[in-house]
């Protein structure tokens, strides 16, 4: 079985831990508890009969990715950059943050994810889509697109010519 490290990162309060919990244990907690440092857990995903163990690092939120300890990113096969669809400030630094991540991990698989889809209107979604061109709009609360996101990552990592951003 293959093990891959996946890092969830982004601004604080965007729902990284909620996505993490939704994927790992299919749970959601309305209370906001800030993540201290990092949390690590894993989940098995099966893609076309092949099992992939996703070891997921849920990092504490930071205003800028440059403030995240560089070593947390090292060895990662994929990065999930999460922003909050209801707080534009959380995707205002998206390009800079992604550029920084690319300098730390050139050619790493990156997935831009707009979370809290359940809190915004379709019109807002369309506007944000134009601005950020995300890979997924998710809702950790309802579970929408969460499993799809991780399965997409596992599939891309198994692909001989991985889909890179």
């Amino acid at each position: 079985m293959i093990s891959k490290k996946v890092v969830i990162t982004g601004h604080f309060g965007v729902g990284k831990t909620s996505l993490f919990n939704r994927f790992i244990s299919n749970t959601f907690n309305e209370k906001y508890l800030t993540t201290i440092g990092v949390r690590v857990d894993k989940k098995m995903v099966e893609i076309d009969g092949q099992e992939v163990s996703l070891v997921i690092w849920d990092l504490a939120g930071e205003v800028s990715q440059e403030k995240v300890p560089r070593s947390y990113f090292l060895g990662a096969s994929a990065i999930i950059y999460v922003f909050d669809l209801s707080r534009p400030a959380t995707f205002s630094r998206l390009d800079d943050d992604l550029q920084y991540i690319q300098t730390v991990l050139p050619n790493v698989l990156v997935r831009k994810v707009g979370n809290k889809k359940d809190l915004v209107t379709n019109e807002t979604l369309q506007n944000i889509h134009q601005q950020t061109n995300p890979h997924y709009f998710t809702s950790a609360r309802t579970g929408e697109n969460v499993l799809e996101l991780f399965q997409n990552i596992a599939r891309a990592m198994l692909s001989p010519t991985p889909d890179r951003p």
Binding site: S3, V40, K42, V55, S71, G75
Partner: protein
């Protein structure tokens, strides 16, 4: 008529040919004999081959050194990590050996001095050395061993004598804690070497692109710690001396067996003899 003339001519021609080519034909026959007889051929060719071999041996460095050097350089560049993984533990063994020899000599000098001056001291009456008195006799055992990738925190191998939570999670969290401590204190050349909690201790041995973490129960004496470090270095030198970037399932199974053999099944850190 014409035919008999031609036959006569042919006969004459053959005689002429025989007269002219006799020597050549004899030489040819000799050459055939040499070529078809192994001993004859060896007798003539072996000196030439030996001469060429000698020449090659004498001139090899000049002619082929650059080519060989290039091949070696390319191989070293391709397999840098593998090479460092081989060298790293061996350097550790050498350094440890040097330090332990120095400490042993220092201890011997110290004990000699104590023996000369303190005949009436209690521990001497009990015929115990100073070192033995200092060392705690309580037993300690290795409960879990992990081999973990430095960068990704992915588990490369593990063995355990107790049931634990998910080992991949432990490997990841341990790496995160390690990275946090090393980053937070900005000691770029220093690495976390252990975590102590109550009667348990996690001892970390850092190598080039992986580290080995040992969870031990009970207090560990310096002597035990030394023995454990020797064992770890020996294990790393023998079992982890190749590319660990993309281990396969066979590797995982093998490394688990080896870890158990080295540290779990028979390994119980012996207390010093009382």
């Amino acid at each position: 008529m014409g035919t008999s003339t031609t036959a006569k001519d042919q006969h004459l021609l053959e005689r002429l040919r025989e007269a002219l080519l006799h020597d050549d034909r004899q030489e040819l026959a000799e050459l055939r004999h040499i070529l078809n007889t192994r001993e004859e051929l060896e007798e003539r060719i072996n000196p030439i081959i030996e001469e060429h071999l000698l020449e090659l041996e004498q001139n090899f460095p000049d002619t082929y050194l650059q080519v060989v050097q290039k091949v070696i350089d390319r191989r070293l560049q391709q397999k840098q990590d593998e090479l460092i993984n081989i060298i790293y533990p061996r350097l550790g063994i050498m350094v440890r050996k040097y330090i332990s020899d120095e400490i042993r000599m220092w201890m011997e000098r110290l004990q000699e001095n104590i023996r000369r001056t303190s005949h009436s001291v209690f521990w001497w009456r009990r015929r115990k050395s100073a070192a033995e008195i200092i060392i705690d006799n309580s037993r300690s055992i290795v409960e879990e061993v992990y081999v973990i990738s430095h960068e990704s925190g992915l588990l490369l191998g593990s063995a355990s004598s107790v049931e634990t939570v998910d080992k991949d999670m432990i490997a990841g969290m341990l790496t995160a804690i390690k990275a946090f401590v090393e980053d937070a204190f900005k000691r770029t050349d220093e690495e976390l070497q252990g975590i102590r909690y109550g009667a348990y201790e996690i001892i970390i041995y850092n190598f080039f692109n992986y580290y080995i973490a040992i969870a031990a129960a009970g207090s560990i004496s310096e002597q035990e710690r030394d023995e454990l470090a020797d064992k770890i270095l020996e294990f790393a030198a023998k079992e982890l001396n190749h590319d660990l970037q993309q281990p396969d399932p066979i590797f995982y199974a093998k490394i688990k067996r080896q870890l158990e053999a080295y540290f779990i099944t028979p390994y119980k850190i012996s207390p010093p003899n009382d």
